[in-house]
Amino acid sequence: MITVKQISRSYPHCEALKETDLQIQDGTFTAIVGRSGSGKSTLLRILGGLDSPTSGEVFYDDISLQKMSEVQLAAFRNQHIGFVFQQFFLEPQYTVYQNVEMPLIIGAVPKRERRSLVEKQLAAVGLLHKKNALASSLSGGEKQRTAIARAMVCDPPVILADEPCGSLDTENGAIVMQLLRAMAGQGKTVILITHNREDAAKTDRIITLEDGQVIDDATF
């Protein structure tokens, strides 16, 4: 379970999050919605250990992210969290295989095991036939599926997706949402940041943020 306790995040010109409390159960598919500047991306970065809150703490079960050293936090991200971003953030000069392989290399997984893990994930997102293609040569939907394969390759229990369909057409967006739904079906905790109500409607729970505070929390 992910527990957010009294999280605040201030920047020089604004306060992105204001003493926010949140609990997200394991294996759920949760959407965090809100308008631009509502603090949802800041919340996702803090949940992913990419940013530190000004005050408050984030717990994964009983483990506090704020009490971890930089080295521990890096290892935690590698093993426990998969990231999917709107802009994909693939390395353009790497092949699809090399992009998906990166988290395993960082996690010091032996080469022989890596091959089967990468190919399994690429097959799951339907991109095994493109494994030797450069990331820069892929279409938007293929890039996002590659990013999803990369997020899943270490088999993390939590997937944080920041507007994953924001740069995609309706068809590819639907495919990505199906993949995220499938991940939740496999027992992963998927947290989706979006401002698209249709995408949010496909999740189990919608948390609405406004001005850095939770104003609505609906479970279906």
Partner: protein, 381 residues
Amino acid sequence: MRLSDLFSLVIRETRIQKKTVLAMILVQVCLITVCVLLWMTSLSIRSTLSAYLDIQYPEGETVTLIRADYTQRTALLDAGFSEIHADCTGDLRSTIRCTEKDAVIDKESYRICYLWTVEDAELTAVSGQLWTAETEETPAIWLSERAAGELGCDAGDAFVFESYTKTSEEFPVLGIYPECDEYGDVIVNFVPYIRMISEIGIPQSYGMTGTVEQISDLPEIRRTCEAMGVTFSSRAEPWFSSMNMIEVLLYGVSVLLTLLYWMTLLHFCGMLLHRRTSFTVLCCFLGAEKRRIGALYAWLLCGAFAVSAFLSTGLLLIGIYCGDQAVFRLAGVSCFTASQTVLVFVLFVLCGFAAIGFSAFSQQRRIKMDVSALEEGGVSV
């Protein structure tokens, strides 16, 4: 991250940034070579210019001067020379003396021929026997009829070759031959002759090279040489008056070039890292520690720098040879020594590696883990 994976990532990164890496290698090769050569020259200019002074004994009076050479050499050493070398070039100088008859073969009065070939003489001996294939290895001398008459020698007399302290074994006169332009006045069997010359250590030239400890010793050495009637010269002497200016100039240029070297090295480190900021951030997002990514770039940069250092050793050797030749022609001195080259070069290379390591890790530490860095860096393909 495993070490083997780290190296494969280094190779992958090198391939991605190959143009920058190549430019870095070329610039570093040039700068390392020029900087090391300049520092070597700066550090050794004073001692270099104070070395290699030529001493020329007057021509003529072969015997006396060679004998005098020994005593004068002691005197010259006392005057401040740390080393004197006799060159083995030019005419072979030695005294050829028949002790029994008190006769000396004066090289200016008699034409000496050295017998190289193994063949029987085509002449008829006036007395004794002439050379054959069998006498090739035998120490032997043959005199023309005229030389034998003037020296008062005949077949059976023996000559020796003299150095300061030693004499060769005896070279007996095996025979007297009639006057013949082809063979001159004296024929010496060459093979035993050259063997003897090398055994007794006869200096084979008047030209000598001296080395002084300090430039300040020069006036005293010059006075001593002049008192002994020995010609003293140095093509480097005109440079002595402007020595301080040359030194300051060389050190100034060396310091400036070294600064340029550091600036370009750090610039290339910065350029290689800056272009891949987004990759660093991405790796951190995926769970890499910054210091691991720092290590990746440190290895990449160290590899490129090691290639530069390796290539510059070849260029340095060529530079040293050409520079030495050029300076020798200009000032008559050799300017570089191997020990200085190695020391300065090793210092440059070690400092280069240290700078690269420092730059790679400190710059990685400064990178902010922010999604905007990924967007700016173009990782979002």
